[in-house]
């Protein structure tokens, strides 16, 4: 059941967007999110959609995949929409018993729904086009300057790498323990939520014990391979900014300029 597990949701194809430097992509995504919340009229969202459209097309990721990221948070979008719709005071345009819908509420709810949808699509595109390990490299490199202020950039990146490395291993182990317990009559599927949670105990205890043992052995293996933290450490794969990254940044600046101009108008 976990055999085909892919970590994150990386969609591996060759495209200009995939080959962008992860740092450039992370920063662009970050500013993109801010831009979504700065916009306060409907018209500029056309720019956002156009920009996202261009990005998705050049990334060669099927739109279906980008939209798939929306599914888990559909409930959240619906919830924010309804809350904003009902809770914003203003000019009432519709009234039924205690339900009052205001013009401002309708507008606000619309904004939130559009913002969240575009936000998820934008961030999905980042994870779809960047493999977890390259993403980790990018984050480490971006956080590096903050080392001076005591931010453990290397340690965070190492933790992420090890987590990514061991997720499939622990998944496999979970499956194994589950089968072993089932064959001895454990029941993971029936009963109410509380009972089911209780039934997970015989699964989690051995899993945790084994995870700690693995951690212990891994630490020893890392030390045996001369690991001593981030000091004086080099990396085989060096991140490099290419002409491709400049082109992408330029397109992004045009997008930002368009948003800012509509804002000033």
């Amino acid at each position: 059941m976990f055999k085909n597990l892919t970590i994150g949701q990386h969609y591996p194809v060759d495209s200009p967007v995939h080959e962008l430097d992860p740092r450039v992509k992370i920063i662009m995504t970050f500013i993109f999110i801010i831009s979504l919340f700065v916009i306060d009229s409907f018209f500029p969202y056309l720019f956002v959609i156009a920009f996202l459209g261009i990005a998705i097309t050049t990334s060669k990721v099927p739109v279906k995949f980008v939209l798939k990221g929306l599914r888990p948070i559909l409930m959240i979008i619906a919830f924010t929409f309804i809350i904003n719709l009902l809770m914003t005071p203003g000019r009432i345009i519709f009234e039924l018993g205690f339900i009052k819908i205001t013009e401002e509420g309708l507008k606000q709810a619309g904004f939130m729904a559009i913002r969240l949808t575009l936000l998820i699509m934008g961030t999905s595109l980042l994870t779809l086009t960047t493999s977890p390990i390259i993403l980790t490299d990018g984050i480490e490199s971006l956080l590096n300057p903050y080392k001076r202020f005591g931010l453990p950039a290397h340690e965070l990146a190492m933790m992420m790498t090890i987590a990514l490395r061991f997720i499939p291993t622990l998944m496999e182990e979970t499956e194994k323990i589950m089968k072993a317990q089932k064959s001895r009559g454990a029941d993971f599927e029936s009963g109410n939520i509380i009972n089911r949670a209780k039934n997970l105990v015989p699964l989690l205890v051995p899993l945790f014990i084994s995870a700690f043992r693995r951690a212990d052995e891994l630490a020893m293996a890392m030390e045996a391979r001369c690991y001593r933290g981030g000091e004086n450490r080099t990396r085989m794969r060096q991140l490099k900014i290419n002409s491709r990254d400049y082109v992408a940044s330029l397109i992004f600046v045009v997008y930002l300029a368009a948003i800012i101009i509509t804002k000033i108008w």
Partner: protein, 274 residues
């Protein structure tokens, strides 16, 4: 030839409260380029000994020298670990990165080697263990034998002269075991010093030298032929002897004229079919 590892009267116990020593007065010298197998049943101190050489554990008494460096000298710690690389039993618990080549690069990255040089070492190591075409794979999709070869490549990339393997085949299936043994023999032919700790007699037979440990002590030491002819003694330590050695000694008791130091099937076949 020079001794790359010198173990002088080493005693070790895990805690001061322990009455028994896990390693109890071991003297052992390993020559450069030698392929040594250490065998012994569980609790014989063989794994502990391997960790002592790599300076993961420090001896309670006595001294260990790796290329002349004292393992209890803190300032030499990283040089020692680089000189005597270590491969562990569980292939899953010693691979760090999510991509094969990244994992092999882990050691040289820790040493602060130049990126171009790391790339070269990684490619060389991958080619040596015959895993070059798997360099972009995630380790969890490889077989046990392949993972163990990646772990060996990770040590090769450190440029270690000596490779210590602590039961590297214990968790592998027969084909994985064969893969690992083939790799080790190739490395030995390339001049690496190999110290293989194992349970399996058929692996020990392939070494230049066999050391048998029991209760923290070395009981027998010599070439496979010299060691395995002592069937009775070896069995006392709770160990098996190679089947073919046992068979030929049984045949000898029945009056067939055979030497008592046969360790390979081919040897016996040749003698019997003369």
């Amino acid at each position: 030839m020079d001794d790359i590892i010198k173990i002088e009267n080493v005693k070790f116990k895990y805690s001061n409260d322990d009455i028994k020593y896990a390693v109890d007065g071991v003297n052992l010298n390993i020559k450069k380029g030698e392929f040594t197998a250490i065998i012994g049943h569980n609790g014989s101190g063989k794994s502990t000994l391997s960790k002592l050489i790599n300076s993961i554990l420090l001896p309670t008494e006595g001294k260990i020298f790796v290329k002349g460096m004292d393992t209890s000298d803190d300032s030499k710690l990283w040089d020692i670990r680089q000189s005597a690389g270590m491969v562990f039993q569980n292939p899953d618990n010693q691979l760090v990165a999510t991509i094969v080549e990244e994992d092999i690069a882990f050691g040289p990255e820790n040493l602060g080697v130049d990126p171009v040089e790391i790339r070269k070492r990684v490619d060389d190591a991958l080619n040596t263990v015959g895993m070059y075409e798997y360099r972009k794979r995630p380790p969890h999709l490889l077989s046990g034998g392949q993972k163990q070869r990646i772990a060996i490549a990770g040590i090769l990339a450190l440029n270690s002269d000596c490779i210590i393997l602590d039961e590297p085949t214990a968790m592998l299936d027969p084909s994985g075991r064969r893969e690992v043994m083939e790799t080790l023999k190739k490395l030995h032919a390339n001049g690496k010093t190999i110290l293989l700790i194992t349970h399996y007699m058929d692996e020990a037979v392939q070494a230049d030298r066999v050391v048998i440990m029991d209760k923290g002590n070395i009981k027998l030491d010599g070439t496979p032929k010299e060691v395995f002819k002592n069937i009775e003694e070896i069995k006392k330590f709770g160990l098996d002897v190679p089947q073919v050695t046992e068979l030929s000694q049984e045949l000898k008791k029945e009056g067939i004229d055979l030497p008592s130091d046969i360790i390979e099937i081919k040897e016996l076949v040749d003698l019997l079919c003369q």
